[in-house]
């Protein structure tokens, strides 16, 4: 029988369990599924081999059992296929997904079956309906097929065949699956290059190999559902890429270390696919953005530029600015007095980051967890969209404890490592950057100006009238596709059904004559908000069904939803519909729109336990709010 393990009875040991022992204890006592929400926190302290071991333990759990206990845990079906033995990828993958709060449902394809899996629409892989397919490619894919002895021209020929094959498979995948396909570049190994004794041939091999990898990377441009992972930067981290013994004997061509970093990247993609991309980077100041303590050392005593350590902090500031230029909102949270902090940002000659780079600078003596909550409220974002970076173990521990949804990047007293630590987990990775992304920080700064403006009015109505909100409500066009897809992926609060749409899903809806795909844009006296929402309606006979209604949290509470709903219902009536249905599927984040439909005249029609459906008979349609100037052309022409 099993050796006895401590259960819920009195603790036999006083020392706290390591995360791995705690996982083992939960697994052995049969309580791991019940305690699944605890897993994410346990994994946050693990990395490398420890994380893979944890994935091994988690892999013994049946995902369905976890879902029975915790129906709200987001599950992602991931198919693993490719060249060679790939079942060793499942353990690190399980752990990496769990770290991000995702439950992995793995489907591991048969050995070397990826060509069949991806080309046959009836394959077991497609039958598993994966949201993400990992097709793992390794250099043996090519070297298994060159003759003995081989020449550079042989490698070039096989590479060409393989890239053509992969292009065909990517196309087949695009027409068969709604999911995302991940391919990867092929690392070139010394055990292959060194078989050529002359430098000239070796260089030629390197060149044809890189050409093939470049073609592979460019495949993604023509295939919207394809992502190509560049393994070169991961291989360059210095871990062993391929273990000769495992490769030769077990046909496991990538080393456990490489599979672990591959799984980490796949986890980032899983986070992005499920709408969990982070939006805001909250930075500590003392010993994070500059060396030293401002309160003790004074503005002239802190290290920023001009010294060894000062240069390291500057490099970190440049990376933060780089992220900010791509739509990541930067905020500062520091235990300091506010005025000296502002003075550094304004006057210190060496600083790269300035006040304008931040949506908010908070410097006070309150617990940072409180400041993060306030910041979330001011920006109208959830704290789960925050990444918090701090060198203090105390502050990191406090935020982890108080706000487990926040991703904590633990820095230390070596500023040269700050950049790697921050970038390690691809927190802000996204499929495609839109114009909205680049202007996002400016829009959020306008938001705080609006917030100050609001405080100068006695009533919300006065405020809204003066705000001069203009809304357009028009069909989604091709150029809107990336942004509309992004809204479905990023929006969690005003999202009635939380159905995430990849760009191709949006295109399908535009092309479908029975679907209205409508984009909402707004602007006001402080500036243009851009494309802030979308509505999808499917018509069926004389009824319409609102598939989803989304609005960016930046423009809540201004009557925009009422204006659009009003226009939509009028258009439905004018085009001969008899009723419009709308559904609400609750998640942890969208309670704010729970009563949206009943508030505007819809009657409850059905409730299946997960989704409530409402019906509007189009008799009495709510008018648009008076303070909004609405231009609506739901079918491309003026109403």
């Amino acid at each position: 029988m099993d050796t006895p393990v401590p259960t819920d009875g009195p603790a036999r040991e006083t020392a706290p369990l390591t995360p791995e022992r705690r996982l083992l204890e939960l697994l052995r006592s049969g309580r791991l599924a019940a305690h699944y929400p605890e897993v994410r926190g346990l994994l946050s302290e693990l990395s490398g081999e420890g994380l893979t071991r944890a994935g091994q333990l988690l892999g013994r759990l049946d995902p369905d059992e976890v879902l029975r206990e915790h129906p709200a845990v987001p599950a992602v079906t991931v198919a693993v296929t490719g060249h060679g033995t790939l079942s060793s990828l499942v353990a690190p993958l399980t752990a990496e997904f769990a770290r991000h709060g995702l439950l992995l449902r793995p489907h591991v394809a048969d050995y070397n079956s990826f060509v069949f899996d991806l080309s046959d629409p009836g394959s077991a892989l497609y039958a598993a309906a994966p949201e993400l397919v990992l097709c793992v490619l390794d250099p043996a894919l090519v070297f298994d097929e060159v003759p003995t002895p081989w020449h550079v021209a042989d490698v070039e020929r096989v590479l060409d065949e393989k890239i053509r094959l992969l292009e065909g498979l990517a196309a087949a995948f695009g027409t068969t699956s709604r999911g995302t396909l991940l391919l990867n570049t092929l690392p070139l190994l010394r055990r292959h290059t060194a078989q050529l004794v002359d430098y000239r041939s070796r260089a030629a091999l390197g060149a044809v190999w890189r050409d093939a990898n470049a073609r592979l990377l460019r495949l993604a441009e023509g295939h919207p559902s394809l992502v190509v992972l560049d393994l070169d930067p991961l291989a360059a981290e210095g871990d062993l890429v391929s273990d000769a013994r495992l490769s030769v004997y077990a046909k496991s061509h990538f080393s456990p270390a490489l599979l672990a970093v591959y799984a980490r990247e796949a986890g980032h993609l899983g986070r992005q696919l499920t709408g969990r991309t982070k939006k805001t980077l909250v930075l500590d100041l003392d010993n994070t953005l500059w060396g030293g303590v401002l309160g003790d050392d004074g503005p002239d005593g802190i290290e920023v530029g001009g010294s060894y350590r000062g240069e390291a902090f500057l490099a970190f500031q440049r990376v933060a600015k780089q992220l900010g230029s791509q739509g990541v909102l930067l905020a500062a949270a520091s235990k300091n007095d506010l005025e000296p902090v502002r003075a550094v940002f304004r006057e210190h000659p060496d600083m790269v980051l300035r006040e304008d780079d931040f949506v908010r600078i908070t410097a006070n003596w309150r617990p940072k967890s409180d400041n993060l909550r306030d910041l979330a409220e001011a920006l109208n974002l959830g704290v789960d969209s925050f990444v918090f970076a701090d060198d203090s173990p105390y502050e990191c521990g406090l935020v982890r404890q108080e706000l487990p949804e926040v991703a904590v990047v633990r820095l230390d007293d070596e500023p040269a490592l700050h950049v790697e630590r921050l970038l390690r987990d691809g927190w802000f990775d996204t499929r495609e950057l839109t114009a909205e992304d680049r202007s996002r920080p400016a829009k959020y700064r306008e938001e705080s100006a609006r917030s100050d403006f609001l405080h100068s009015f006695s009533s919300l109505e006065d405020y809204l009238r003066e705000l001069d909100v203009r809304v357009t409500f028009t069909p989604v066009e091709e150029r809107d596709v990336p942004r509309v897809s992004q809204i479905t992926l990023r929006t969690n609060q005003f999202n009635l059904t939380t159905e995430r749409l990849q760009p191709q899903d949006v295109r399908d809806r535009i092309a479908d004559p029975a679907t209205w795909a409508l984009a909402i844009r707004s602007s006001d006296r402080f500036g243009d908000n851009g494309l802030v929402g979308a509505v999808f309606v499917r018509r069926d006979g004389d009824t319409g069904r609102v598939e989803n209604f989304l609005l960016s949290c930046r423009v809540f509470s201004r009557g925009i939803e009422q204006a659009c709903l009003s226009a939509l219902l009028r258009h439905a009536r004018d085009t001969g519909l008899k009723a419009v249905y709308g559904s609400y599927r609750p998640t942890a984040k969208n309670t704010t729109v729970k009563d949206l439909y009943p508030r505007y005249g819809f009657q409850p029609a059905a409730d299946d336990g997960t989704t409530t459906t409402y019906r509007h008979d189009l008799a009495d349609i709510v008018p648009p709010p008076e303070h909004i100037r609405l231009t609506a052309h739901p079918e491309g022409q003026a109403l």
Binding site: M1, E49, S88
Partner: protein, 78 residues
């Protein structure tokens, strides 16, 4: 490495509820066994024992006991 140490390692690394009595079973009969577990065991065993064994022998092992035997120094060896 004693049998008990080995069983503990399998239980801790793989989370498998195996017992010392089960290590003579054919791997096919060990509840929850998957061939991928052998690959993980190689890494763990080499880390714990500092010994490198011939991978083909390990991949051909028919039971956990046979895997363990590979890591026990032959009689008379240093």
């Amino acid at each position: 490495m004693t049998i008990d140490d080995f069983v503990t390692l399998v239980r801790d690394e793989l989370g498998m509820p195996v017992t010392a009595e089960q290590i003579g079973l054919s791997l096919d009969e060990v509840p929850g066994w998957d061939s991928v577990h052998l690959l993980w065991l190689v890494t763990a065993l080499e880390r714990e024992t500092g010994r490198r064994v011939a991978l083909p022998d390990l991949l051909e092992a028919s039971s956990l006991g046979a895997v363990h035997a590979l890591y026990v120094p032959a009689a008379g060896a240093a």
